[in-house]
Symmetry: C2
Subunit: 361 residues, 2 copies
């Protein structure tokens, strides 16, 4: 019997190539999966050679994950339609600004029984509510979409340092399949039934990291940073309940995508570093992005603005003093030390009551 399932990966940046290493290694051990993993690569020339050619001959993405070999069953293709052809399991891991174009390209070519998983960070929040990446993908492709997020710095995973991740998947059987594709001894997957909760945590932690960066910029210590992480984490949880009703499960916040990713991002991470420099230099965030990150856009301070738009329109800024202070420091020239104003909020009643159990989406 030939394998009935086939996986493809759309995106071959740092995180996509890392995912290809993991999935490519696992898929050959799974009898119901075709060994070949098509990896869609946005074609570019590296030292005069096509990146797809380099990957297919050297088995290394020399541009985005140098120093780590990809399994030989990972085959790079430059045509996204060719990549998704026959794929039952589609892993989407491209920068979020390119998602619309990619989805429009592949929408007519995917199998009707295909299923997808998004490794993309970034949700949209406005005064009308929240839209997540899995919702955007689902609306265009009309297939089930799961999510994956966690305390996952790609380079550390490529070095096979132990870590955890969280998969959000509504269907318990599909969750087992996604887990079998991603789980390794050094990359431990936990599955939850809360797709958007996983995405929410992955986006909102960047706002907390901006706050942590301010603390570093102010030269304050470990106590202070731990206080900001604690309050930020609890405001994340509070916002999730407010913006999603009971659709996001409180327990998701204790998974790798929640508390662990908040911690990692507040100690390492570029959002933290940008915020630290913001305090030290007084330069605006966009200018610092240009100087420090070659113009690459970071999510933290943009998400802070979106969150503020939402809580302000709902009239609940008082319930989110840290998020409000971070917004005002970023956008309203408040001095960084005002981050501490009014933080003595009681979060102890925020836990879900038995009368409002988290609904599965």
């Amino acid at each position: 019997m030939s394998p009935s399932k086939k996986v493809c990966i759309l995106g071959s940046g740092n995180w996509g190539s890392t995912a290809a290493r993991i999935v490519g290694g696992n898929v050959v051990k799974l009898a119901d999966f075709d060994d070949t993993v098509k990896l869609w690569v946005y074609e570019e020339l590296v030292n005069g050679r096509k990146l797809t050619d380099i990957i297919n001959t050297e088995h290394e993405n020399v541009k985005y994950l140098p120093g780590h070999k990809l399994p030989k069953n990972v085959v790079a293709v430059s045509d996204a339609i060719e990549a998704v052809k026959g794929a039952t399991h589609i892993i989407i891991v491209i920068p979020h600004q390119f998602i619309k174009h990619l989805l429009d390209t592949v929408r007519g070519s995917i199998l009707p029984n295909a299923t997808a998983i998004s490794l993309i960070k970034g949700i949209g929040i406005s005064d009308r509510g929240m839209t997540t990446m899995t919702q955007t993908i689902h609306r265009t492709l009309a297939i089930p979409v799961s999510s994956l997020s966690g305390a996952n710095i790609a380079d550390e995973i490529a070095e096979e340092k132990y870590c955890e991740t969280t998969i959000g998947c509504h269907d318990p059987d599909e969750a087992i399949v996604w887990r079998s594709l991603f789980n390794t001894p050094y990359f431990q997957v936990n599955c939850v039934a809360d797709v958007i909760g996983v995405e929410f945590c992955g986006a909102l932690k960047n706002v907390v990291a901006v706050g942590a960066g301010f603390i570093d910029g102010l030269g304050l210590g470990n106590n202070t940073k731990a206080a900001i992480i604690r309050i930020g984490f609890l405001e994340m949880r509070r916002l999730a309940m407010h913006i999603s009703g009971a659709h996001i499960q409180e327990s998701t916040f204790m998974e790798s995508c929640g508390i662990a990713d908040v911690i990692t991002t507040c100690y390492g991470g570029r959002n933290r570093r940008l915020a630290e420099e913001f305090v030290k230099t007084g330069k605006p965030m966009p200018q610092l992005e240009k100087e420090m990150l070659n113009g690459q856009k970071l999510q933290g301070y943009l998400t802070a603005e979106e969150v503020h738009s939402y809580i302000d329109s709902c009239g609940v800024t008082d319930h989110f003093p840290l998020f409000t202070n971070i917004y005002q420091i970023c956008y309203e020239h408040k001095p960084p030390y005002t981050i501490f104003a009014g933080l003595n909020v009681d979060f102890s009643r925020d836990t879900q009551t038995p009368s409002s159990p988290a609904a599965m989406l």
Copy 2:
């Protein structure tokens, strides 16, 4: 009307002197409190002068909190009986190995309507269960005893860097009084009704810090450390429920004494540092204590042994893989890399169900 209340502080080390700075500053603003705060000092000579004399003339504990003035209404005394005389509010903040002797000294001299608060870290766990410092104090003095713990590195607080702390107090009216004695704009107090939960967190976080130190010693990265912190935190919470029934409240773990202190201790802290050196040098913990800390005893690896004795006698080591691995690395010559063995535990069902609400002690 003369003030009806009087506070004293038993202990003048680094943390006791920091507490004296805070409480001494607050008490003069509280009409029902006597302005004078007696500070019991274990008398010793510093450069040929009595430490009590130095504190009462220079208003600085030059040995344990140099560089920070104490308020002039803080009066050092070398006689513990004199310190507690007439005190309605007794703050106890001495190294735990001296507590028995101190309690025996003052037990006949305290007011019958006095109340106490323990700032002491350290609980005792054996195969028969857990005894906390507030329980020990309560059994000897027969007065109500509250607890205070949080992400509180004393030197950072003395420098008035913003942080939070948690007071565990059964009586809501007394909680307000303790809060008024400790709360400042830079030292934010939250009160919970869970006295032993606060103490439990303060002790168990040191075991997690040993695990975090092993990760640092192994040269692993942020992802890995965040995973260990997450799992350690959840094993702490699980152990609390196991060892205390529903007496410890789950919500206490989200206070400063819980998640924030775990984070601080796993990034700074001496337990973490000792464990890092343990991995790097292969020397036994007691030898490293002698070399690095002038023989001072740390709690982390001792508490790890106590925890193991308890979970082993209950036959539940499988439910605490991280605590078990940390114990075996410390005491059974297992290599540090075995810290990852069997960590894929499901904690998602650990939250308290409505049928077992946390009881107030």
